[in-house]
Amino acid sequence: MYRDTSHKAFTNIGFTLYHVVSREMCLWDVNDGRCIEFTKLACAHTGIQFYQFTIGTEKEGRLLCNGHYPEILVVDATSLEVLYSLVSKICPDWISSMSIIRSHRTQEDTVVAVSVTGILKVWIITAEVSKMQDLDPVFEEESKPIYCQGCQSISFCSFTQSSLLVVCSKYWRVFDAGDYSLLCSVASESDQSWTGGEFVAADKVIIWTEDGCSYIYKLPASCLSASEHFRSDIGKTKEGSIPPLIYKIAERADKQLLICPPVTRFFFGRREPFHKLLIQGDSAGRLSLWSVPDSTPRQTLQVSSTISLQEAFDKLKPVSAGIIDQLSVLPGKEEPIKVTASVYIPSQGRLVCGREDGSIILVPATQTAIVQLLQGEHMLRRGWPPHRTLRGHRNKVTCVLYPYQVSARYDQRSLVSGGVDFSVIVWDIFTGEMKHIFCVHGGEITQLIVPPENCSTRVQHCVCSVASDHSVGLLSLRERKCIMLASRHLFPIQVIKWRPADDYLVVGCSDGSVYVWQMDTGALDRCVMGITAVEILNACDELAPATVDALSHSAVNLKQAMTRRSLAALKNMAQHKLQTLATNLLAADNADKVTTALITFRNTRKQTSLETGGARRGNSSPGGQFAAGSSEVPASPAAHHLGQVCFTKKRLQGQSYRKPSSTLAPRGLQFDTCGLVLSSSVSFQESLLRQLSLATGRKLTLSDIVGKGAYGLSRAVTTQHLLSVISLANTLMGMTNATFVGEHMKKAPASLCGATPPPSPSPSLRASIADISVIKR
């Protein structure tokens, strides 16, 4: 995050935030967390500055970027396209830091930068240059060695317009902004290293250190343009003449917990009331703010305001719901047992949660979600929802995998789990019996992967386990033995790829090396680095269908799908992740909202069923105009059922839970699921109501569903909400000819339906159905 940009953006435009990770640069909408623009360059950036260029009345944003390349790139702030670059003729090298000096007198602004070898470079940005769109480089105006290696920051004195502050890790220096001659140099005390600094006033600078301390110094007279001694000692700078330290800014008490230096920035308000603020953020998630006074305080300056993420979480009431909260708190224990791995099995409607104490819990997902989201008598029951505990691991469970879900070639009974205790355990998911323990690795199991479809028959019945001792194993579930252990990797394993046709397992390590193993013999075929390694990895991608990969790692890719704004990927994720998401993330404002929303539902229920009855008749008419007719048929019974789920828990239980669990029909699952999803989603948005009451003839577009009120509500909800709507539509559309209406229910609505004449499908109805198909597509 870049300070000036975000600061400006919040006040002026209110939506931009630039963010650079290594080679990637993203433009974010801070209102809803969307990534607006994304680019990837060949080289890595280390710094980015916002620069607003004015041509007449037109204002254009530019980003100046420096990094691991010997130039400064000028990037358009909205499209993130590289416009031109500022290059050096003399000693071109990486730029450590840069600063933009705005001139109010002329139209020319100046960019001052210091290269890694300690050479000061000056570029002039004129109107012509800023307008330039072709990739002609701009050469520097001036290049002067100032012998400042490892420069951390460079800043211009906006008070006097006549000096520059350059902060290096072991010293800081003040230069004349006119001819860049050295005015003053101050070495750091023994074990401190400076990380940045800024002018606080014409004669004061604030310098901060790596461990989060800040110091305010008064500059000697030779550095002040207003003084008669200005530039009096150029060329005879005495290292010893340390300017007086005025005061020190208090440091945090618990800084020893930090694992990396905090980020410190100084803000100077250009408008009333001219706040001077020092802001610091650190790796413990704490933000601290000091108001820097113009007068000199007696002792160290105390922090004005501070907050940490942990404090904010601690204040949260009610605490946001977890997956299986009610099973995690053991009597006599304060801390709940944390869930460390989980997998959702849609075909059985079960959620498998591995926990930090080594136990694995199997719960019916929807019932669990209902416990989290809805209030009722079930909350008082002990040990509810019904669950099964598998005990076998001796320490934290790190991954769980249900291979049958990925490929039907696996036994439907097998559930595989890996733990910190180096073991991989195969369970019978129906009986809860431990079938086998594999102890082949010498480190924590980090990942369990299903090999692709076209491997050899032997490998097809294996799961691939990755451990933190840099080993990969192929564990045959059928033979109950490890058929291959690839363990010579020197670096942690980053990626596993397959070349089934050649019987190769390709292991990519974090140092960029690639190991090719023969699966059948377990022999190391090759170990390569460099371009060849990249080529081998890419070749595997071309052969394998990308979708398989994307689906099997839905959790990881959900985030990517969102940042890349890929609707197709989102749709996949939505289908796979819907219920866990609904449970986890929508639960925050649970009971109250749900209940109120459901009252609305109840009111519309009668009308909905009337209309549905009509629609169904329309559907069965010889014309059969409804391509998507089935979509709203289940919708309405879902609403019926919703009512049951939410208001009459007893009836619900009477329906599903009184039956023996073995005969728990999929229909019951769908009931539960739809009811749950509908009730959770509705609690946030009335638009879902509209979607469900399609038959009321109101035209409905995607923007209606996700737009308008939805964005205003909560940033976290927006995306989840979109997902819910899409997947809900998918679920409803996916169930061709499905009906929620059981025999007993058919009778009841029939009386209602009978009362209304069959309406002909209105154009608006057809339009809304088309809208749903759009969503589905």
């Binding site: 010997p70 990486w94 074990d191 917990l257 924590e444 942690p492 371009i531």
Partner: protein, 297 residues
Amino acid sequence: MLNPQRSVSELPKMSAASQVERAVLEEEFNWLLKEEVHAVLKQLQDVLKEASRRFCMPSPGLESQLKQENFILGSSTMDQVKGVLTLQGEALTQADINLKIAKSSQVLHFQFREDKQWKLQQIQDARNHVNQALQLLSSRDETYHFKTGAEVNKLMDAVMLQLTRARNRLTTPASMTLPELATSGLMKMFTPPMPGDAMINFYINLSKLCLTVYQLHVLPPNTTKNFRPAGSSVLHNPGAMFELNNNRFEVSHVHKVECVVPWLNDTLVFFTISLQLCQQLKDKISVFSSFWNYRPF
């Protein structure tokens, strides 16, 4: 991180480790943080200083004092291209290239213009990355007391990132498209100027200084050949096509000659050794972290 109270309270659900074992481990971990980490850091610094020395950093104003090295680039199997390159630090200061065109058997001779030299960005980048890794290491000298394993891991990650990048810069040359190559400044470096049907590229691959010469022929506008512009690549194959200034070209011959730069080979070895040292230290730390099951922040 190693809160004894916590360890005791968690004892029942922990594995069979006894309290004595636990105390011994804690002691060992403290030894690791206090002694072993600094020993490894010292070793790393020594190795990287050696690597950095190989790059012979030019000091401003003293560029001319850098050692000049000549490399003869050729191949035993073909004699179409021969080059003599002079490397001074990170820049190629002189180049003599002899090019024998297959058809005419006439030998073309090119050399760098007096006023020009070609900077090998790969070498500069690698040098800068090593120096940044050294800076990171020097900020934690023997007097520094590491308090957590996470802190060591963080430092190792930062150092490894720089080292991996340094190595990658040498092992993975930039892949360019043919039009990028044709418009690069390299084409304007030579006297006599390069003919329009030849292109040249210099890069470092692993420890080798490579010179690639592409011979082109213009595709007639009414050609029946399927025109498909080639993507970016380090080394294009004969048959690769591209379009430049409304002319279509096809690569007819590719000549690649190379020569090992011994000091680059040394640096690669040093990078690999130091990366392994870093990883081994991280592995040692991780043994303890998994035992105590603490949160590494």
